[in-house]
Amino acid sequence: AAKAPRRRQPKKSNDLPHPNKLPGIFDDVHAADGRQVCRRHELYVSFQDLGWLDWVIAPQGYSAYYCEGECAFPLDSCMNATNHAILQSLVHLMKPEAVPKACCAPTKLSATSVLYYDSNNNVILKKHRNMVVKSCGCH
């Protein structure tokens, strides 16, 4: 099951970290009408469940995360929206059947590394780019 999101104390300094980047601290952010705004959710890929620990040395799995939530007008600052997404959501207000809302997608991805044995017992460390969602936004 997903790890309980770590509840971090906001930094003392006045520049609050971007809510989208910290797992869990703003998990239950809702738009005024109760819909969930675009943000990052926990998703854990388990090599253990895949039965791969006979060749994967480390890690046993990794947190990939995913993005989900409404990109509805007004696009709050926390939604990491592009200018285009803001315009698109305005047009969607006027012509909902013609133009869809902007979509909630990763705005920053980072790498993860896997250490494993190959079939010749060589040990290989491979870096895989764009595997972990660092932040989400409306596009």
């Binding site: 998703l43 854990y44 890929v45 480390a58 190959d118 060589n122 460390l125 491979k126 870096k127």
Partner: protein, 264 residues
């Protein structure tokens, strides 16, 4: 998504969220897709499983240190070129920038070892042959190191200075000596003990150009006066040494271009 005790891809399951059970074929497809994302053609099958083989051998120990350094860096998101491996007790770390910019690091353990010792005419040497079949396609070598452990060796030599040289066996001939290509040389006290790291990057240009898959390295030891010494007598350990001190090669690769996923 998955079977058994948990699901392969675990997300926070809200009340009422139905989890679909995958069929056998779907499970295989899921595994194949994740392997493809990890850049693996198929599921590796090492001769004995990782769990049963505690990482006692030198290469896995070294690579585990490298993994922790790189994984720690990914979390900090400050991939600056600083000496990545701090506190690596057993072995001297490779230069930080080589590690953090590498896409793949391969430690090669499969090798054949051959000695020309005191039962043969001088010069004495020790030879290591590596199977490079696992060189990742579409990636270029940024650095390659040969690591060998030197124990104390015979006491009577301990005061003299040794010159240790590593050559690549460029070409072999039936009736005469092989063609050798000098890669690296080090000078040290005979009583020195610890891991020696030789830069063999220069040999890598031959691997990729000629697609040769067997790299031969030959090691010579000489004194200041040019006297050839048997590598084992000065404490250089080969495959018969303890597992945590056996020689191995480490090669750092960088993806030449963003890997294109095979269409299916």
């Amino acid at each position: 998504w998955g079977s058994g005790s948990g699901s392969v891809l675990r997300r926070r399951l809200h009340a009422g969220f139905a989890q679909r059970r995958l069929s056998g074929g779907e499970r295989r497809d899921v595994q194949r897709e994740i392997l493809a994302v990890l850049g693996l053609p198929g599921r590796p099958r090492p001769r004995s499983s990782a769990a049963s083989r505690a990482p006692a051998a030198a290469a896995p120990l070294f690579m585990l240190d490298l993994y922790h350094a790189v994984a720690g860096e990914e979390e900090e998101e400050e991939a600056v070129s600083r000496p990545v491996l701090t506190g690596l007790s057993t072995q001297s770390p490779p230069p930080g920038s080589v590690v953090s910019r590498a896409d793949t690091v391969v430690s090669l353990v499969n090798m054949v070892e051959q000695d020309r010792d005191t039962s043969s005419p001088k010069p004495y040497w020790k030879e290591f042959r590596f199977d490079l079949a696992q060189v990742p396609a579409g990636e270029s070598v940024t650095a390659a190191e040969f690591r060998i452990y030197k124990a104390r060796g015979i006491a009577r030599h301990s005061n003299c200075t040794l010159h240790i040289s590593i050559y690549e066996i460029a070409a072999e001939h039936a009736n005469r000596e092989s063609d050798l290509f000098l890669l690296d040389t080090q000078q040290l006290r005979a009583g020195t003990e610890g891991w020696l790291v030789f830069d063999v990057t220069a040999a890598s240009s031959h691997w990729l150009v000629e697609r040769r898959y067997n790299l031969g390295l030959r090691l010579y030891v000489e004194t200041d006066s040019g006297l050839s010494m048997e590598p084992g007598s000065v404490g250089l350990l080969g495959r018969r040494g303890p597992r945590s001190k056996q020689p191995f090669m480490v090669t750092f690769f960088r993806a030449s271009s963003s890997p294109v996923r095979a269409t299916r």
